[in-house]
């Protein structure tokens, strides 16, 4: 009986995370259009309506899904039939599973059970997320190669080279976080960010690793291949690795882009913005540095934590979208140069600096 209940709880955790990222990804199609409209002083997406209700254009993601599902779904004559179908599947699949190891709350105690609020509880959560993110490169490369089109294969090659360059910088820039918190488990890293510096400042990653944060976010945006790093797509030159795709298969690549944005935002939140931590909120309630205390019931604390995680991820996505609508596209050599000659040496410098500071100051034990 308990085994079935355990399985049920496990499924509930997975379903929560998967629906979270799917809904976030779907909403992003709306956010991207609406945010750009506001930034450019336009009205933006507001046409789709159900019985006259427009709801700020929130029905557009729904209309998009219906449109893409019913569009002609053709395969070019020279395409590799199997890989051509597999490529969008791989892209979406790894975008979805990468998020699973990111903790969205502390432990929930319910009816004598301790439920970790994390779909996949791994001691090497950081490695899991990176492995899944890296594997999504294959979807892009396969799409470029299998399409049998010159533009597509050029886009696929550009994407692969850009993503591996970004990945080096990502891997090197978070080394400082791992040195500071001494763990590869995402949950432990988030718990470590609940400590206080000088007795009142929450020890969030962005405060102890400011350089690492900037490098990680830059490399993260490059890994999602979005503007200003969208040279693999650059619709004005080569259209990209998905030039031969139509209908929902194209929609899957667009969606994989949004899913990766959510994953990078979630990872930034977890490593640098305190994850589900609310400043001065502990398991029993608030304990403010000026001495005041406010006891809260357990369920409310958990709700506050999950809410804080959601708000932080949304904020991070908002920042990434701001960048996307502010900067023009880099030239391909500029993007590669930034990755190899800018982000990578600075990340190595960050490792050395973090090491020296940790030994001199000591940091929290």
């Amino acid at each position: 009986m308990t085994a079935i209940a355990d399985l049920g709880i496990a499924f509930g955790r997975v379903a929560f995370v998967m629906l979270f990222i799917l809904n976030m990804g779907g909403l992003l199609t709306w956010v991207e259009r609406k945010q750009s409209a506001i930034m450019q002083d336009r009205i933006g997406a507001n046409r789709a309506s159900i019985f006259g209700f427009r709801l700020l254009g929130l029905f557009h993601p729904l209309a998009d899904a219906i449109k893409m599902l019913t569009k002609e779904d053709f395969m070019p004559a020279r395409a590799d039939r199997f890989l051509f179908q597999l490529a969008p599947f791989v892209s979406v699949f790894f975008g979805l599973v990468a998020f699973a190891a990111i903790p969205f709350g502390d432990t929930l105690r319910l009816a004598g059970r301790e439920i970790p609020l994390q779909a996949v509880t791994l001691d090497v959560g950081v490695l899991y997320v990176f492995a899944m993110l890296s594997l999504s490169i294959y979807g892009v490369m396969m799409a470029g190669w299998a399409s049998g089109s010159n533009f597509a294969i050029l886009g696929g090659q550009r994407a692969a080279a850009l993503m591996i360059s970004a990945e080096i910088a990502i891997g090197a820039s978070i080394m400082g976080v791992i040195m500071w918190y001494g763990s590869l488990s995402l949950q432990t890293i988030v718990r470590g960010q609940g400590d206080l510096l000088l007795g009142w400042i929450p020890a969030w990653g962005i405060l102890v690793q400011p350089l690492g944060f900037l490098l990680f976010v830059t490399a993260g945006i490059a890994a999602t291949r979005r503007i200003p790093f969208d040279t693999p797509e650059s619709e004005s030159e080569i259209i990209g690795y998905f030039v031969e795709y139509s209908g929902m298969k194209f929609g899957m690549f667009a969606m994989a882009d949004f899913l990766e944005t959510v994953v990078i935002a979630g990872l930034t939140t977890t490593l640098f913005l305190g994850g589900w931590q609310v400043p001065w909120l502990y398991a029993e309630g608030f304990r403010f540095p000026w001495g005041a205390e406010l006891a809260l019931p357990h369920l409310l604390v958990v709700l506050l934590q999950v809410g804080a995680f959601t708000v932080k991820v949304s904020l991070m996505i908002f920042v990434m979208m701001l960048v996307r609508w502010t900067l023009p596209r880099f030239r391909y050599d500029q993007a590669m140069r930034l990755g190899w000659l800018g982000l990578f040496p600075l990340s190595v410098l960050n490792i050395v600096l973090t090491g020296a500071v940790l030994l001199l100051v000591g940091g929290p034990a």
Binding site: L7, V14, A15, V17, M18, L22, M68, L69, T70, E72, D73, F74, P76, A77, R78, F89, V92, F93, F94, L96, V97, A100, A119, V120, T121, L122, W145, S147, G148, S149, N150, A152, I153, A160, A161, I164, S165, E167, I168, G171, M175, I178, M179, G182, L184, I239, V243, E244, M248, M252, M255, M336, R337, F344, I351, V352, G355, L358, L359, A365
Partner: protein
């Protein structure tokens, strides 16, 4: 038992991604014409499809990636245990990173990271 959630996450993602592939193949129209099936090249007939032939720059970048990513792999366990290693670990890593950066400088000076 604890890691069964990984399998569940994989199954969930496979079902979602699979449905996105299967549903359109059931309800979407199919009216393929020879012109539509041609590779897209801004309206021209493609002279040659370069499938499988890469510009050599991409291969060199891939090799650099493997080199440096494997070096980074050695830093992961060191970073995790850093607090226990102290000054000895710091000096060791300075030597390791020094050699790594020497190689990186060599690649840079040889023009391996230039895109003309």
């Amino acid at each position: 038992m604890e890691h069964v959630t990984i399998l569940m996450a994989f199954a969930f993602a496979a079902v979602v991604a699979g449905a996105m592939l299967v549903v359109p193949s059931l309800i979407a129209p199919r009216r393929l014409t020879p012109v539509k099936a041609q590779p897209f090249e801004s309206g021209k007939d493609p002279i040659e499809i370069t499938q499988g032939r890469l510009a050599v720059k991409f291969s060199t970048v891939a090799i650099f990636f493997i080199l440096i990513d494997i070096e980074l792999l050695f830093i992961w366990p060191w970073a995790m245990l850093y607090r226990k290693l102290g000054w000895f670990g710091f000096a060791e890593m300075l030597v390791f990173l020094g050699i790594l950066m020497l190689g990186f400088l060599y690649i840079w000076q040889k023009g391996g990271l230039e895109w003309e």
